[in-house]
């Protein structure tokens, strides 16, 4: 499968594990998952991108869409990403200023907790 998705709850934060390629073909599945999580009242999300091998603007759009949805409920969506090749597209598009990007899931969770 091009894209593998999983999610679990940790300390009240919903963590989404993404593995594989997020592109125009696979991004809709991630989008649906994020919509689904928000519909189930999960407004504190962390998306773990450490196993993402490819991300394009469609994928970015899905993440931005997810961010907007949780923010409508005063929530937040943070990312975990240390891969330079993935960070590159966030930099090019200026989205490093928009998303909280952390080195590990634990750091992302800690950051969210300290923001509250």
């Amino acid at each position: 499968m091009d894209l593998k998705l999983g999610h679990y709850n940790k300390d009240g934060i919903e963590v989404v594990d993404v593995e594989g390629e997020i592109d125009v073909y696979t991004a809709p599945r991630l989008r649906e998952l994020l919509i689904d999580l928000v519909n189930k009242n999960n407004y504190q999300l962390v998306v773990n991108m450490e196993k993402v091998e490819f991300l394009d603007s469609t994928g970015l759009g899905v993440l931005v869409g997810g961010l907007k949805r949780v923010r409508a409920h005063d929530g937040s969506l943070d990312l975990v990403c240390t891969q330079e090749r993935i960070l590159k597209i966030f930099r090019i598009t200026g989205l490093t200023k928009v998303f909280g990007i952390h080195d590990t899931v634990d750091e992302a969770i800690a950051a969210k907790k300290s923001e509250k």
Binding site: D23, Y25, D56, T93, V98
Partner: protein, 184 residues
């Protein structure tokens, strides 16, 4: 004549194939390993753009990608046949639920132009390939988060040489990267 030409039905499922072929041909042409991620991403963006344009305007027409070695550059051209209507926004401008970063500043190139689900093709821009990166509101759970020119903006950030040729019958996005002289 192009070194390699691929035509494919305008389906999202084929964009990955086009990326893989382009990356393989780039590598074979001597493009440096450190640039291959850029090639993959830029070609993917151009193909995604073309696929979406075809799905709106001419879903039976294939998208074409040509890859050539030329003057020590690896050149990729992605061509679509979607007519480029001027980007007229019939909808009223969306209210501002643009993205604000954590400091409360609006994201780069904030643009509140409306975006209808029929889409508008912004490739009628001039040939710089640069477009304002506008974040538009999602009025409902449909449609993209970004306006149509966003993919081109990403491509411009990745390839030093990008030319967009836009005519009434379609758009070509031409990108190139340095390659070593062909060994064979």
């Amino acid at each position: 004549m192009a070194t390699v030409e691929v035509t494919f039905t305008p389906l999202p499922a084929h964009v990955r194939t086009a990326r893989l072929v382009a990356t393989a041909v780039a590598r074979r042409s001597g493009v440096d390993e450190s640039l291959l991620d850029e090639v993959r991403l830029a070609v993917g963006e151009a193909c995604s753009r073309a696929v979406e344009a075809h799905q709106r305007h001419c879903p039976a027409e294939p998208v074409r990608i040509e890859m050539t070695d030329q003057d020590q550059r690896f050149v990729v051209t992605v061509s679509d046949h979607a007519p480029t209507a001027p980007a007229r926004s019939a909808a009223a401008p969306a209210t501002d639920n643009g993205i604000h970063d954590r400091a409360g500043q609006v994201g780069p190139g904030h643009d509140s132009a409306g975006h209808d689900s029929a889409g508008h093709d912004s490739t009628g821009r001039d040939g710089t390939g640069r477009d304002s990166i506008g974040y538009e509101a999602i009025g409902h759970d449909g449609g993209a988060a970004f306006p149509a020119g966003f993919g081109l903006a990403v491509i411009s950030g990745l390839a030093e040489d990008v030319r967009v040729l836009s005519t009434s019958s379609g758009v070509s996005v031409r990108m190139s990267w340095p390659s070593t002289a062909a060994a064979s």
